[in-house]
Assembly symmetry: C2
């Protein structure tokens, strides 16, 4: 029997990445697509509670309809699982293919990763997949690898609470696949201060990543060296070392 796979993203249901992924995954699985109706990058793990959410069917291919959801990536996953797929077993969730890498500190800002995290919270083995370029138009290698890693997860399973964050270099010259750790690199960001026609200031975020990771055991460096990076992540944020150390504090 074909596996049932839920596909989501944060670039919105019209994005090229989700279309390329859906096309490839449909070759071996029953696919349901539930994704935000518009671009939702850097939304982090937002969920919509104060307002209702709407959902509508949209044609993605001649023979395939997906669900466009007026919400965040995490909303899309939650709503699909609790309504559309209420009585079905979901074997896997794939979020992507995102345009732009989700490595190091970016993981916590990432809508792509948050959709996969939400899947994991709901007990579904989940994978986030990103192609490391905003402009590279060829999703072929990324979509093929999505199939490969999906089949590996369907076969091996994932521990409860763990998801995979996959980054694929935007090149034809992939050197291989490495299992990586989340990099320590972070943003050297700042704000450009501009003035609007009404003479009021506004601020625009800009900056570049300070790359401090030196070996391919870290996601940032692995993709820079043209390796596909697969990082197992979880959402237990407890700092266990500090948990022990803090017992000395007098509070």
């Amino acid at each position: 029997m074909k596996p049932t796979i839920l596909i989501c993203n944060d670039d919105g249901i019209e994005a090229d990445g989700i279309k390329a992924l859906t096309k490839e995954i449909r070759k071996f699985a029953e696919v349901i697509v539930a994704a935000p109706h518009t671009q939702q990058s850097a939304v982090g793990h937002s969920i919509t509670m104060a307002n209702p959410i709407r959902m509508k069917e949209v044609m993605m291919f001649k023979d395939f309809y997906g669900y466009a959801i007026e919400g965040t990536p995490a909303d899309s996953v939650k709503l699909a699982v609790h309504t559309l797929l209420k009585d079905r077993k979901i074997d896997l969730l794939i979020s992507g293919i995102n345009q732009g890498s989700n490595t190091a500190i970016n993981i916590i800002y990432s809508g792509t990763v948050s959709a996969a995290t939400e899947g994991t919270i709901l007990g579904i083995p989940s994978i986030a997949i990103s192609l490391t370029s905003y402009t590279y138009p060829d999703f072929t290698i990324a979509a093929k690898f999505a199939t490969k890693i999906s089949k590996a997860v369907l076969k091996n399973g994932l521990p409860r609470g763990t998801l995979l964050n996959v980054n694929i270099p935007a090149t034809k010259n992939i050197k291989g696949v490495v299992i990586t750790k989340q990099g320590k690199s972070s943003w050297d960001d700042t704000y450009e201060i501009r003035v609007d026609p009404g003479n009021r200031k506004y601020y625009w975020l800009t900056g570049s990543m300070l790359k401090i990771d030196k070996t391919i055991e870290y996601d940032v460096k692995a993709i820079d060296e043209n390796y596909i990076s697969v990082t197992p992540i979880h959402y237990d944020l407890t700092d266990y070392k500090m948990y022990d150390d803090m017992k000395k504090w007098k509070l």
Copy 2:
């Protein structure tokens, strides 16, 4: 010399919690308040990149002005640090006092925690403080404990990359303070399906927390037992056990 403390929140600059906190912290510190101009709960770690951000001064008390920022909690921290406080050393960041607890899985949805996380990313010792009720009007105990934990952090410091997530029970009968781990409890959520006057369906998130944590070493249980909960958390999401286990996978 007085320490310099940046205060933020996710309930917005007009919220009672940030006012109570600011009033108390001003007793011993130079305080700068930079907070969203409106309620931003459950925004997760969103940052605004595609659009510019605006900021304006607003009177919080007769003798004190804060900065209201048209953005998320993380935006507020980033913008304050990079513009208002560009040339100043910030000794501490406090996010809160939030109305409603931020424990277990809620930590990843929390705007309150995301502001403190952003502070940590920027190298500032940071604390998130929540009062475990949406309605309890008395911030006295929470504000006093904010002073206590702030002074402890100013004295002991925090490891780079670690922040404190503090939850304070909404009661006068506090039993004590415990250092806790992030609980494993999660939401048993679902969507109510309603129909609008135009006969279109809409979906509203609802649910309750499935409490599986049995001892006060977990945040959820600690606050239920009327203990103040202090959880050291970090944003290294790597699952190191799975990192080792996955090396057996053939990819």
